[in-house]
Each structure stands twice: as structure tokens, then as C-alpha cells.
Amino acid sequence: MTGLHVENLSVTLGGNRILENVSFLVEPGKVVGLIGANGAGKSTALKAALGLVKPDTGKITIEGKDISALTGKERAKKVSYVPQGAPIHWPLTVERLVSLGRTPHLTPWQDVRAEDEAIIRKVMEVTDCWNLRDRLATTLSGGEKSRVMLARTMAVGAPYMLADEPTAALDPLHQLQVMDIMRGQAACGAGVLLVIHDLSFALRYCDQLVLLHEGKVLAHGRPQDVLTDAHLEAAFQVKVARWTDGVEQFITPHHVN
């Protein structure tokens, strides 16, 4: 069975039920968007899919294998992760930081090899940060840091990529670039799962959407079927205006009253 499969997932954190009976599938070559209001459980679902949060019930399988049965490195080679607002604790150069993405492929004694360097350069060029390679990562702007973190994640070369709001803190051009990269990853056969707030991006870039509301799946399916007025009002308490420039469709939220 192909794909990253989340089945009947329920998670409780600190006594609060965060997710209840959540199921969805991320297939290779597809971009799946997780949308929902703040606190709906999107990030928790992502972390559970990474094995960072233990579910009460349900299971997560990658290509038919339960992730709890995989070792840390095996799992890391299958699923990579773009965290939101990740810390950088030491002033490493950008190139060194991106190279950390190769960690799952190296033995504890190995350092970056020539073939790793080639991969590192490639992902840095794709994410437009090769020119930053000698800068200290702690001196980057928010947008530069987001691109570097994306490069670090892509350096893993995992067949599934999970991203928590990858366009947050980016200017419009780099938002478009990041979303194009996500699509490009899917075009190369990767399964991409991303938490996203921009409804227009969700409509335009995702193949499937999972709309979470209070820890449960409110709607699941093609973007045009999920992003209905009724679903959006129920999940976000907003109304939306829809318009098109003749090529793309756009959704702009506004107050109910």
C-alpha cells in the first residue's frame, strides 16, 4: 500500500483531546493541505504523522509499515519536516546548517561526503539560498531563514515532506517560490503534506485538502469540494469573496456581518 496513511488518529495532550478520529492519506505525487482555524489540531496532526506525538488510538503507516515500528533513522529517511519558526542555537554557516539534512544517511562517524555536497548544493540552488552559503545562519532575515530551513528539509531527500506553514514570514515572491517548490517536489514523486492558512494557495496548489475543526475532520477531498461557503463559515466563522483573474481563482475572507 503506497502513501502516508493516517488512520483513526486520536491524540490527547495535557488532558485535552486535540485530535479525534482523524484519517487522511498522502499519496506520492500529491500535495495535501491541512487547513483549519488556530487550535484546530493541524500542527498536532503533523507531529503525530512524524512520530513526535504519541497517539492514544489509531495508527500511521508509511507504504504499509507502521511508523512506530521504524527506527528513528529509518523514519527520518521516509519523512522530512519543515518546522515552523525552528530555533538555530549556534551560529553555523548556512551551508553547514543545510548539510544537517543529510544526517539520517550518515553513520555516527561519518561527515558529509562528496555526494552529499552535490545534493546540498542542488537543494540550496532550488530554494534560492546558495548565495547565502557562507553567511552565519543566526544573521538571516525571517524569510531567508525559512528558505534555508526548507533547503535543509529537502536535503534529506525523503519521499514524504511535511511542512508547518512553510510560507509564513515570506514575502509574496518567496511565498510563490516555496509553493512552486512544494509542487515541484510532488511532480518528482514526493508526497507533500502542509499546514496552510492562505485559502487561495490551498485552492491553487493542493490536490487534496483536509479541513480540521475542533480536532475532527470537517471535510476532506478536492479543494473545490472542501472550500465551500458552508464549510468555511463553520470552521473559521468567516464569509468569503471569490474572484478570478481569468486564470487563477482567489478566495478572500471577510467578517460574517
Partner: protein, 335 residues
Amino acid sequence: MIRALQQKSWFFNACLIGIIVVTALLSGMFGQVDLSASQVARALFVAADDPATIIVRDLRLPRVLLAVLAGASLGYAGAALQGLLRNPLADPGVIGVSATASLGAVIAIYMGLAALSPIAIPVAAMSGAFGATAILMLLASRDASVLTLILAGIGISSLATAAMSLVMNFTPNPVTVQEMVMWMLGSLENRTFEDLMLAGPFILLGWLVMVGTGQGLNALSLGEEAAQTLGVDLKRLRWRVVLGTALSVGATVSVCGAVGFVGLVVPHMVRAFLGYEPRRLLLPSAFLGAILMMLADILTRLPIGHGQLRLGVVMAIIGAPVFLYIVFKTRESMR
């Protein structure tokens, strides 16, 4: 670029090894009786029954070997702990092992055990270090956060310091109190192969536990969550660094006394040459720690003032200004 840094760090390590050899030779030459380099070499490699051979083999060799083991332990553990805790102010003292080892020694001196056996103080100090280790391991195995480990270390340290004060408070004889204070100031004077055989195995065991943690420490530069998604077993990493530090530093303190600053300063000195990558700091920190310890030990043999200079004092006198200088130099990149 990364591979260029790899080559630079090999070269740096090779230079440090060369300096270790030279410093060890100097350490063999200077003392109450000064010897020439050739005398030291002859004493080491040619069996003879002359005073130089006795001085070098029985007095200075164990002292040099202990200085290397102790300095390397403090340097390596300091670099590993700074990487684990992601805090440039961390040093082996932060997990409380040094303080509990000192407490063990102070209790042994109070009870007059030193008169019974020359290894009584080191054994008592090591028992103290193991006490702190047991508490820390209990916490680490329960998936405690790094912050919990630091706070527990501070708590253990404070408790051990308070208990030491209490023991000193109840010591009726001022000479015994002085003996306690002098022990805590650290020394390698009169150390023998017996001390080496006692502490050496634990120090080596500590190194074995810690070696190979560099990759995990590198990944931790991105935070715990990201490190886990790169396949790092955080619990195991914490466990290895804490246990390795406890074993090697606990054993070090038990034979040398509480020598501060090495674990704190040495990683910063290496960063000035090789940058901030935690893994790249480990080995050179061990080498530089060994060099500093030998140099400080040579300085303690200088006839300054009334008494003899103590190792911990020399190290702090050298370490603190160097530390301040490094803080001043690197203030931009630490922002």
C-alpha cells in the same frame, strides 16, 4: 566548503597533538629538580637506576598522564554538555558531579580516612560523583527535558555545597579545614600510578560512553524537534552525555580536586579557530584541555609566595581572563 573545514580541523587536531607531546616533555623537565629534554627522553626509554629515571618515571610520568586524562575529560565533557544543553555557559560542574565529588572528599578528610589509605579520598570523591550520577540518570531515563537536567544539577550542586559547609562547620580542627580547602583548590602533586589506576578506567569508560555523540549534538543545533525528525534518539543522547560526563569528570575530580574553567573555556577557545559546530569541537576540546591542564600543572611548580600554587587557582587565573577576552571577541556572532 564543508570539506575544506574538515581538512582544517584535521590540521588543527594534528597541531594540538604535537603541542601535547611538547608540553608533556616540558612537564617532565621542570620541577624541584630541573632536567634536560634528553634526560627526560633517556629516563623514559632507557631503563636505568639513576635519580633522573626515578623522578621522571615515578613522579612526573603519572602526573603528566593524569593531567592529560583530566584535562581531556574536562574539555570533552564541556564541549559535549554545551552542545547538549545548547548553552555556551555550560560546563561539567553544571550537572553537579564536581560538587558531589568534592563533598565525598571533604567527608573522607573529616573522618580521617586519608590516614588509613592513600586512595580513601579518591574513592570517597568518586562515590559522591556516582551519587549525583544516579539521581541524574533517574531523571534522564524518565524523559526529562534538558531544562530539568540543568535545574536538577544546580539543585544537587547547591545541596552538596551546603553539606560541605556543614561538614567544615563541624570540623573542630582548623588544620583539617585547611586540608579540605586545599584539596578543593585542586592539585596533581604527589599523584602516583595508584591514583592513575583508580581514576583511569572510569575516565576511559566515560569517554567510551560519550564518543560518537557528535552527530546528534550537531542535529540538536536545530532544536529537539528537528533533531528527532533527523533520526536522533534524544533520550539516548542525553543519557550518554550525562553518564559519560559523570564518569570521566567524577573520576577526574576524585584525583585532581575540583578544577574549574577548563570545561567552560576550552570549547570557546576552539570555536575561535573552527567555528561553532558542536561535533567539530569535541576532539580538539579534549586535546586543548589536556594541554591547558599540563601547562597549569607546570605553573604550580613555580616557587611563588609562601605556599605552593594550587591547580584550580592557576586554572581560574588563566581561564577567567581568556574567557572574558573570547566573550568580547565573539559578542557579535553570539547575538
